[in-house]
């Protein structure tokens, strides 16, 4: 039962994804609309002083995302060290 529902869900999902990315529904690869990105490419050097436009996006235009990203790394590290901490039971056994 679980197998059958799983299979149906899988087929539906993959069909939708593939249908979604093929030409009539999706735009052509390599020809993106680019209003926002063109603005960034043109102004990044002047506004942030960066030659590396990606770095200016990562740390300036979308710096808050990067703060979130650094936070996630911090969260995961804290989580890993929290979960691998010596529990009391292990101290007794060792």
């Amino acid at each position: 039962m679980r197998q059958v529902t799983g299979l149906i869900a899988l087929i539906v999902l993959v069909a939708f994804l593939v249908w979604g990315v093929l030409p009539p529904t999706m735009r052509d690869f390599g020809y993106p609309p680019s209003d926002m990105d063109d603005y960034i490419i043109e102004n990044a050097q002047e506004q942030t002083g960066n030659n590396n436009v990606v770095a200016s996006v990562v740390f300036d235009y979308r710096g808050f995302d990067t703060l979130g990203e650094a936070t996630i790394l911090f969260t995961a590290v804290t989580g890993v060290l929290l979960l691998l901490r010596a529990s009391k039971r292990r101290k007794e056994s060792s």
Partner: protein
């Protein structure tokens, strides 16, 4: 003061974050200082949230553009499209953040003694603050990718906190299920964001709402968004992980996880009403949400009746209660395109659903906290092994009764006022919804009475004769939530006028959200 309010959206996110980064350093020096930092920063954040809420009720939507030459400058001079990340706080966001600030404060105070005997407390509080920050970010952001980032922060810290008590095997499994579900859900959200970005080359919710055309890709993206958020909120049939994860976490974290699922619900509303509000085929999506909401309500409560584990029992009730909110807001969505029906009952149904979120966010964490208190006292979660606890745990008994009466919708408690609002309004949409709601309510009352009887009533069991009431900070944590319940009970109309209607109107009024960002076009 004025500049503090102008900066408050970012401060509400950044203060818990800075506190989280500081806690590992301070925790090495002094545990008391660390606990004080946690409580003080949460109190300050709660103060800021209330100040911001007051400001929004007067001045309307609050905008904060990160990194711009002025926080109000949403669109760069001489350009038409927002480039930077924008925080956008309207009635709905601030409503959720009020709930989040109260519950997280209560949970932090409750934790002070609930986990006092465990190791690794410094990291526990770090993760708690990160989770608080993730929740606020999720509610305040006006940018889709930013929403994904905060969703991940909230879910990763949540998973690590669920697995906090590493000496039990079930906590690890609960944490694993939670993180797997979250990872899949957030990747689906990311894919959907990619689909939108591919067509409109923007990530800003308000701008996207202005230009969206409801093409086939948009429909696929909407489906992905809804499946992902339904998965995160534990909507039937994607609920199987929900009790496993919620029942094993420390009780304070379970209380916060309830609000995280509300935050995901908020994200789903934001997507349906604000992002797709102008173009969505509202009746179809509305009916889908209502149908699954009904299923959620019914399956949740029927599963709950059999549970012997007190936390699992409450988790299934949490699933069932989420159904009420989906139905209330779903009815509002179904009549979104019809102003007349919306005025007669749609707005009331949405208000009912949102009011129920507020009430649920008060009584469900309270019930989980009392469950945690029972676990703290007895060392077991099995209801059949408990009994006669009312003799020793007077505070817990009273608080549990408040929660029970509230969740079952007994007048005059707050659960009643929101349920009656839902019943009256959805009856005009379709009577079957009201009838199911009442049946579910009765089943809820029955099962909670049974649990009350088996845990608190009867003769005092010999193994629980010794021992005292739970420590004071746990009671304070519970009392904060009980005070919230009593406040809403005493002044329901005040709360509806000041918090619920602005939130519902913020969802309905899509153009205000869009204009706040793009209105600056020269």
């Amino acid at each position: 003061m004025a500049s503090l309010i102008a900066q408050s959206p970012i401060l509400i996110i950044a203060i818990p974050l800075a506190a989280a980064f500081l806690i590992p350093l301070i925790g090495m020096v002094s545990q008391k200082a660390r606990n004080a930092l946690v409580v003080v920063s949460l109190v300050f954040v709660a103060f800021l949230v209330f100040a911001l809420a007051r400001d929004i009720s007067i001045n309307g939507i609050h905008i904060y553009t990160l990194g711009a030459t002025s926080p109000d400058l949403t669109i760069p001079t001489g350009f038409m499209v927002p480039v930077r990340i924008i925080l956008e706080v309207d009635g709905m966001s601030v409503f959720f953040s009020i709930i989040w600030s109260i519950v997280s404060l209560a949970a932090a105070i409750y934790s002070l003694s609930h986990i006092a005997s465990e190791t690794g407390q410094t990291r526990f509080y770090t993760l708690l603050m990160l989770m608080v920050m993730g929740g606020f970010g999720l509610m305040y952001t006006g940018d889709l990718f930013n929403l994904f980032v905060f969703l991940e922060i909230a879910s990763i810290s949540g998973a690590a906190l669920i697995a906090y008590r590493t000496k039990f095997a079930d906590t690890q499994e609960g944490g694993f299920k939670y993180i797997v579900v979250s990872a899949i859900a957030s990747l689906m959200v990311l894919f959907a964001i990619g689909l939108l970005y591919a067509q409109y080359n923007s990530l800003n919710i308000a701008y996207l709402a202005q230009v969206i055309q409801y093409t086939t890709l948009d429909k696929i993206a909407l489906a992905l968004f809804l499946i992902a958020f339904a998965m995160k909120t534990g909507m039937v049939p994607l609920h199987l992980w929900f009790p496993d994860a919620y029942s094993v976490a420390p009780a304070s974290i379970t209380g916060m996880l309830v609000i995280t699922s509300h935050a995901c619900m908020y994200a789903a509303f934001r997507i349906c009403f604000t992002l797709y509000g102008g173009v969505i085929n509202a009746p179809v999506v509305g009916w889908i949400i209502i149908a699954f909401g009904l299923l959620t309500m019914f399956v949740g409560v029927t599963m709950a009746v059999y549970q012997k584990d007190v936390m699992r029992f409450m988790s299934y009730h949490a699933i069932s209660q989420l159904g009420y909110m989906w139905i209330g807001v779903g009815v509002g969505l179904a009549v979104l395109g019809n102003p007349q029906l919306l005025a007669t009952f749609g707005r009331d149904a949405m208000s009912g659903g949102i009011f129920h979120i507020l009430n649920h966010a008060m009584y469900k964490p309270l019930l989980f906290f009392t469950g945690g208190a029972l676990f703290h006292y007895t060392g077991t979660r099995d209801l059949t092994k408990m009994g006669g606890l009312a003799h020793k745990m007077k505070w817990t008994t009273i608080l549990y009764m408040i929660g029970t009466l509230s969740i079952s919708g007994i007048p005059p408690l707050n659960g009643f006022s929101s349920k009656i609002l839902i019943y009256e309004s959805v009856y005009q949409f379709h009577p079957i919804l009201t009838i199911t709601g009442i049946i579910v309510s009765i089943l809820t009352l029955a099962s909670f009475t049974k649990a009350f009887h088996s845990a608190f009533m009867g003769a005092e069991l010999p193994e629980y004769k010794r021992g005292k009431e739970v420590p004071r900070s746990m009671i304070i944590g519970m009392l904060i939530l009980a005070a919230g319940i009593i406040f809403v009970t005493l002044f329901p109309s005040l709360v509806v006028d000041w918090a619920i209607h602005p939130a519902a109107d913020a969802l309905i009024d899509q153009s205000a959200y869009i204009n706040a960002v793009t209105g600056a076009i020269p």
